[in-house]
């Protein structure tokens, strides 16, 4: 347990009648970190965020904010602010009035409000837009104004509900970098909800992976990627290969065993060699032939049908090859090798 964590969930549940949107979740968010909640739709991540904000009421458990129990406080009494998925800018107010809204409610003097609004607009790199109306802004601009509106109140925790979902790819990638940079400058704890695992891996200090109302695993991006604790995490975070039972046993060298087992190996950890190549110490190998080639510019994805049965996906950086040579590989017999330490045997989910 870290001293003075920003948010603590103690056995939090949120039920809607029969449906357990959040089921006995306990977790900690550390002071100042960029914490992501990742999972598919309906996994409970957004509900957890809304529980912190105060828009949903707990069915069970407690939520602590820097040690104080906020479970019963309405949202306007909590020193947290939210960036909404649809930005929720007030259409009848100017950009400046939007940003200053929280300050206006707290009766902060107009001169100070103006100054802080300007500071915020500089922070999100949209100086001089204070007099515009939200309808005159682009999606990316609105997103930044929503961020400014939340941050100007110096919240203890900033909640972001899939804020980049509506942006196109390039803009999204740009915003990811900017958000990270703002986080570092401002130093506030960020809690970020997303279903995009690449986004979570890019930006987060730590990630909580949600599934059906529960947390499957919490860890740093590297931990989750390299040491997934379950099939779900391995499959959800990054692309993964799963090899079961007989084939698995054959590869691992104990073909006599009957036990059900699954291991996972990341596609980029596998090397493609010619058939018959020597297999080094500490490596696993499997023979097969290339059944599918997908050229992706940066890298090429090969789908290899194993002689033992099943398939493995291999991703290779296009260091030397061109699309033509890659595509010509279709049908070629190959030997796949990878280091044993990259192999992860995982517990099966029941």
């Amino acid at each position: 347990m870290s001293e003075n964590p920003a948010i603590v969930f103690e056995g939090v549940s949120r039920h809607f009648g029969e449906v357990k949107a959040v089921d006995n979740v306990s977790m900690e968010v550390r002071d100042g970190e960029f914490f992501s909640m990742l999972g598919p739709s309906g996994s409970g991540k957004t509900t957890c965020l809304r529980l912190v904000a105060g828009f949903e009421q707990l069915t069970a458990g407690r939520i602590l904010l820097y040690g104080q129990d906020v479970s019963a406080l309405p949202p306007y009494e909590r020193p947290v602010n939210t960036v909404f998925q649809d930005y929720a800018l007030f259409p009848h107010m100017t950009v400046g009035e939007n940003i200053a809204y929280g300050l206006m409610i707290k009766r902060i003097a107009a001169s100070e409000r103006r100054q802080r609004v300007e500071e915020m607009l500089d922070l999100v790199r949209l100086p001089g837009l204070a007099e515009r109306k939200p309808s005159q802004l682009s999606g990316g601009q609105r997103q930044r104004i929503a961020l400014a509106r939340a941050l100007v109140n110096h919240p203890k925790v900033l909640l972001l509900d899939e804020p980049l979902g509506a942006l196109d790819l390039k803009l999204r990638q740009q915003m990811q970098i900017e958000l990270k940079s703002i986080h570092q400058r401002v130093g506030v704890t960020f809690i970020f909800v997303t279903h995009d695992q690449e986004e979570a891996l890019t930006m987060s200090d730590r990630i909580a992976v949600f599934n059906s109302g529960k947390i499957e695993q919490i860890g740093t991006p590297a931990e989750l990627y390299e040491h997934p604790g379950s099939v779900f995490v391995a499959g959800f975070v990054g692309v993964s290969n799963f090899v079961d039972d007989t084939v698995a046993h054959a590869i691992m060298g104990d073909a006599t065993s009957d036990e059900p087992v699954t291991f996972t190996i990341r596609p980029e950890k596998i090397q493609i060699l010619d058939p018959g190549s020597p297999v080094g110490d500490g490596m696993y190998s499997a023979d097969g032939h290339i059944s599918e080639v997908i050229y992706l510019g940066i890298n090429t994805r090969y789908i290899v049908s194993l002689d033992l049965g099943g398939e493995l996906t291999v991703v290779e950086q296009n260091l030397n090859s061109t699309s033509m040579s890659a595509l010509a590989a279709r049908g070629k017999p190959v030997r796949l090798v990878w280091k044993r330490e990259h192999n992860r045997t995982i517990k099966l989910d029941h």
Partner: protein
Amino acid sequence: MQKTEIPMRPTATQSSLWRSVSNYLYYRPRLVLVLLLGPPLLFMLVVYVGSLGSLLVNSFFYLDGFTGKIVRHFTLQTYAELFVPSNLDIFKRTIAMAIAVTVADALIAFPLAHYMAKYASPRRKSLIYLAVLIPLWSSYLVRVYAWRLILAKEGILTWFIGKVGLLGALEWILSLPGIGGTSLGLSPIGMFIAFTYVWLPFMIIPIQTALERVPRSLEEASADLGAKPFQTFRNVILPLSFPGVVAGSIFTFSLTLGDFVVPLSLGNSKLFIGMAVLSHQGTSGNIPLAAAFTMGPVVIMIIYLLIARRTGAFDAL
């Protein structure tokens, strides 16, 4: 930029009484619902539904012809009176008129609504909208009476018909039983024209709204699949905008069923439901009969509404 420490609770510069009430209500949505819904519901239930209820009750009483007093015992006698041929005629007459007016209004309104929804530029549409709404907001009574003016023997329409030499045709129409009368201004056909006129905007607006909601992409898809414009209209646009027609018809039907102004201004002395109600509750004080008469249109409209709900007309309102 440093993190500024802000206190956990906002300093109470705003009224803490309002805050406390807000906090109390925030997690009690049911209480809020009661507070919000209470006053209007109370008003409507007591004033409106209550009165309708007492009207229904009244229709089961009857007026003693000798004493002139209302006898407050449950009886179906008053309803039985409705089935007297002369009263049945009143119902038939009114319902026939309501149907005719509804059909006429639908036919006239649809092209205009179609034009507004699909072909008019936004500016033109606003102008047309105004041109539709403005007659609505001039006095209803006077608009009815305008037709008395127009249809009068010495009025503009007869003058015009005379000018184009169709007086003979007019005489012939007026001689037809059931539609004609002594003059245009005092005949069922005159009433028909007036009814159609006054309720027309009520038909135009829902149809226009419903047509607007038919996405252009559906029409394009239909054309893409080989349908000619008329087929697209018949198979795509018409069915999808039908709820709008039904919504409009609720008004034209209901308003015609209960009206007494048009029959009084432009009718021959044949009674319509509205006039019957007015006269029975007036001088003779026969509230039970007036109530029974009123229950007719009420029941008809409630059934109509329930059917209309199924067609989705309510979304077009």
